[in-house]
Symmetry: D2
Subunit: 406 residues, 4 copies
């Protein structure tokens, strides 16, 4: 097979070399190209205007980090075959390929009860067929059934190449310098012990910093109150559109999206009907955004109001409290809006939404981050650290929020 | 008027303060918010995946540079009133507001014979009405009818805040570090002499570097052969769509775009019919991209082929030559494609397109860049420089290109 | 007085403008120019070869941040007169002027019992005389006797411009990206309430990150085990040199340094004898380094050994433990070295040294960092934060270390 | 031999791995450690306070770029054995080891008629002896006697790893962003054809930019008028010191420097007397700076004046003209100073010095930069470029300067 060496410019890493023919072919595939049309941070661009980067770029970045991590590990004597290296790169490249429009927000709305990782796996199986089984091992690594488990941990764990890339990339594009992690150092400190991905002791401060940076990115970017408001607005829009359709109203809808909203495809259909995946592959941010642009002029005043808020960035106000918002609180808001807009309370219920923003810096109940001490001991980060930061590492910070029109 | 101070994160400049109520209101306006949906570099993201930044962000960045340039000039004793400062900022903020979908490419296709600057001016007049004349002075500065001509030069000249921002921003997002200019230094070296924007002598090297950087950005990014191919492809798609419509074929088309393609609005209608501007404001990258996504499944095989090429990034090959491609050359290509695709030559003519990529580093026939020498003399950059780079500054580099399916 | 506007290039901040004549004159003064010859991080360059930056640059950087902080505060309505602004800038510019060679290490060795801040104050009084009282207010701000106490807090507190600059600068020059703080954001979030420097609530994450970054810089750079070894080595060298002098041995010594080592100047002499300060001003890294270069060839084998270790970077090994090293532990090391080198135990005692490396992330017993909540409340960072990091904020991390020849 | 893997932090490249035992041993050697005490840009720190970086760091950086260049070339199929790779790295690591104090300035003053490259070669031969011939091949590569000539070109040519590192590093530390080159891209575009180092055609713009950046660094940094003044001042100081010594005056002088100044060692002695190299190795910036510090209080008023100017940064004024300064011009200045200082004209002649600052962007008479065109042709950059910048590439820009006390 002819060499298809390609260099991709990356503002963060400089140049990314695509040396493997398989990786090159996967990137060229329409399934992967779709990721160009899905922003990594969805509507967060409404808060941080620089955050226009796509899942396409993130996936390639994570693949690049995998490439470098493998070089570091091999240099330390960890055995990784050429096939394994290629499969690990394919696995991380495709790990997010199942994301739908606006990423996490509409998960479960478009394909009912289907998590994006299931979809990624479905894509991988389909591609594995097209590529005559070349992705067999990548699928095993992704699904954590491959014997060398540390390869899976590079793809998915509390310190995987996915997180390293997205924190770095999201920080770079939003301009929130707080999210910068000591990427170079962390990668150089990776090691494998007893088939587990570990961090050499000298890297312990960098890992702590990584965890702090991740937590800050959550509160400052991912769970930013205006971003929560925008995400909620999008969900309200979808609920309203479906409500109108269910009520027999005529609503403008692009056919590729309409198929999913009208047919309410369930998880099991994904495996039984192979056309579902191809139909899903037609969905992207554009499909939805185009509908919303038309809905802002819809005859239904509620749908029009909501879509206008999104398109012209008249976003709801968000307030936080430490306990869930009660039905009484919400009803009071709805009543007030009913008076203000002169709409029914049912209609106004689409303007009010609540939720939970929660983040846990480090989850020591799940797979731990292990520190490879000089004396040969493996230790949970919590204990290896001299940092009291981690004295109560499992504490989840929870903020309940309520969004209402300004 | 209440303070509406707002801080916008910018990955390049850090924080951008919006201190003026008028500037804040302009940014909030739906006309300006539309720029969020128009990428600064159009389809160049297909070559440089990081280049997803928008005209929205560029316009705010340029406004920020204007703010800093004014501070530098005042510090050197140049008199600029509060009103003038505000107007100059408003002018640069709105200088590109008339851009349509995919920026330059479709200029003249959507609104026949209308340059984006005319549209920017139309927007400004409309906004001036809405804001009760608050933009009067900004319009004068933009149109170069304001007495202090250097304010116009800050908005539009060979060394304006527009260029400084776009070179910096495009370089940052593409990852082409060659485009980085000594922004800080250039701004610090700005001065005004005899009502002209000039550069203090100490800044001469930085200005030369700026000109070289700009030239390199042209060849490496703006006129990159794959970017030229993508832009040409888009134009072919539009031509084909119109061809089908003109031929009475049924083509899926979103109504907001259809209005323009079917009615062929001319320049003069823009001023006679105020609704045209509002209709134009509904156009953005999404509108077009959504159509192209559907057209890739169109019954017309040519339209489907072209759109599939764009969506799935199967871009044409580009070759350059120093003289225009002759009709014979093009016909030979078309003939060959006709055999390959088994389509008529007329159909195949949509697959072949040619053009001219030209760039002039520094145009000493137009308004010069003047150097403010220590001895009090004002001198054209060409003569102030000890750099033989500028020995033949007016030489335009011209490359003729021809794109054909791979 | 003619304008002496000057621009200083800074790799971190771009350009630093020196607009004030007084600031310019202070920088030009030989007292301040001496700081060019004192590295900010002393011997840490032996660990991080990029860390060659000087106290000169740091002081100017901190002054620049003061300039920006004042602009932010004024913009929020905090009243700061022109005189106060100038004095605050002068105070921070001079805050470290009293540092001797190799910064902290030799404090108390060269001028017995004199802290560098006392010396800074002595310098300020002297300069105040030379500048006809122009530094009166700066001295008050530095000494915290000026009514607007927040000005002192900008110079010296847990979140002052000194710390902001040195963390940023040390991080930049060492290449330890972990130390990067959200400088821009922190400065934009500064405010004044009840005459205290506070942080607006939106900045709380950035301040937490700042505290974590500072802690990491301590362990990764300032208290790096090899840096501790180098600092201890320098102290041992000075002890040995004095030991030889006291024992009547002839030791090569540059006269400017000899004056201090032979006369053992005490704190009280600094105020009684004005020539002391001028003699102190002749000391810098060069003076000491030159001596050490000659001492590596000294006839005394211990002094030669120690100096050779420093000059040719054969640094001792450092080990840590949680409790102080006992005399027994040290004696055992000394005995062993006595056998290895065939020197007396007294001589070998110069090869072994111990100490305590301690760091407290945030000291809530000293002046607190106050958060200015949206509801008008002022709150200690510890309570304003939702971060369990700060559950035991006063815990000081202590590591005892022992250095011995490799 | 045990692995001595070491990681060095570099603010520019992140981490530099030292994997080879030989490279590690060379870095540890006192000959190489001396470079820690020689600044890369000598007195330029008086103009750009950030420019405190050392030859030590530069040499390691250039070695790192060599490592990366070799990886790129191997990836393109260029055969480079392990031994050759190691030797090329050793050669570039040591290429500047012969630099004396303040780099270029005192070349020829300390060791009469000896260029630093001769000294580098002398060091290499000495080290080759110590390392039992391990540097044989490195010496061949350095001396351009090794058959694969492209390895020498990586060490020394118009586009070598030395230049790439120093431009990048000097630009970084001075903060002159104009000097930034597209390092990543240039290295990726390296190739070998007919045993010559060439640039793949796609890299042509980056090479042009490199040449422009280099030229700008010359005028803005290396030949900055204040840097020229400082360098000339240093030379004047050395001349005056020697003048006094020659006249039988007692001048304070550190013995290691005195040896060279008093004995006037000639080139041929370097090879005949092996102790000369060891004595040379004792010289560094510190040795000289310490003397200058004492000389500023010398009884000779001229020496004291000159040294005070340097230490306290009261630098001479520089003026440029296009032709050499005539003896008449200089005499007129000297006469005037004689009146002003009331010193003899002979004494005042030490206050006035002139010179030539010259720079040639690209020297097409020396070894050319060859472009590897897609059609297989090799072409001189001048002809491959569509850039009229290179229409007269051999034009040397010459500025004659004269420095006199302010």
């Amino acid at each position: 097979m002819a060499s298809s060496r390609k260099i991709i410019n990356d503002p963060i890493y400089g140049f990314i070399n695509i040396d493997d023919e398989l990786i090159f072919q996967l990137i060229e595939h329409p399934y992967f190209q779709r990721l160009r049309r899905i922003r990594q941070l969805g509507l967060t661009g409404l808060v941080y205007p620089g955050a226009t980067h796509t899942r396409f770029h993130h996936a390639i970045g994570a693949m690049h980090l995998m490439h470098r991590a493998i070089a570091v590990l091999r240099n330390k004597g960890v055995e990784i075959t050429e096939d394994e290296a290629l499969s690990a790169k394919a696995a991380i490249l495709l790990h997010d390929i199942g994301h739908g429009p606006f990423s996490h927000v509409l998960e479960d709305t478009i394909l009912i009860g289907v998590h994006h990782e299931q979809l990624s796996l479905a894509y991988m199986h389909r591609l594995n067929g097209e590529f005559n089984g070349a992705l067999e091992q990548a699928i095993q690594i992704f699904s954590d059934t491959y014997p060398k488990r540390f390869l899976h941990q590079l793809v998915s764990s509390q310190l995987d190449m996915d997180r390293l890339d997205y924190l770095t990339r999201d920080s770079f594009y939003t301009g929130v310098s707080e999210g910068i992690v000591g990427l170079e150092r962390i990668i150089h400190m990776l090691n494998v012990r007893e088939d587990q991905l570990v961090i050499d002791e000298k890297g312990v401060y960098s890992v702590e910093k990584f965890i702090v940076a991740r937590r800050l990115m959550y509160w400052q970017v991912y769970l930013h109150k205006t971003a929560l408001a925008a995400d909620g607005l999008l969900l309200s829009i979808m609920r309203r559109a479906r409500y109108l359709v269910d009520g027999g109203k005529e609503v403008f809808m692009l056919p590729k999206l309409a198929y999913f909203l009208k047919n309410r495809i369930q998880a099991h259909e994904l495996s039984s009907d192979p056309t579902i995946l191809d139909r899903f592959n037609e969905l992207d941010d554009i499909e939805l955004y185009a509908c919303i642009k038309y809905w802002k002029d819809d005859v239904d005043p509620v749908l029009a109001y909501l879509c206008n808020s999104l398109i012209n960035r008249k976003l709801p106000a968000t307030r936080f409290q430490e306990t869930p918002f009660s039905d009484e609180q919400k009803d009071a808001e709805i009543k007030q809006l009913s008076g203000r807009f002169n709409w029914t309370e049912e209609d106004c219920s689409f303007l009010v939404y609540s939720g939970l923003a929660a983040n846990e810096a480090y989850d020591s109940n799940s797979e731990k981050i292990l520190i490879n001490r000089k004396n040969g001991e493996l230790m949970d980060l919590v204990h290896a650290s001299d940092n009291y930061n981690f004295s109560s590492p499992n504490r989840v910070v929870r903020k309940y929020f309520l969004c209402t029109p300004k």
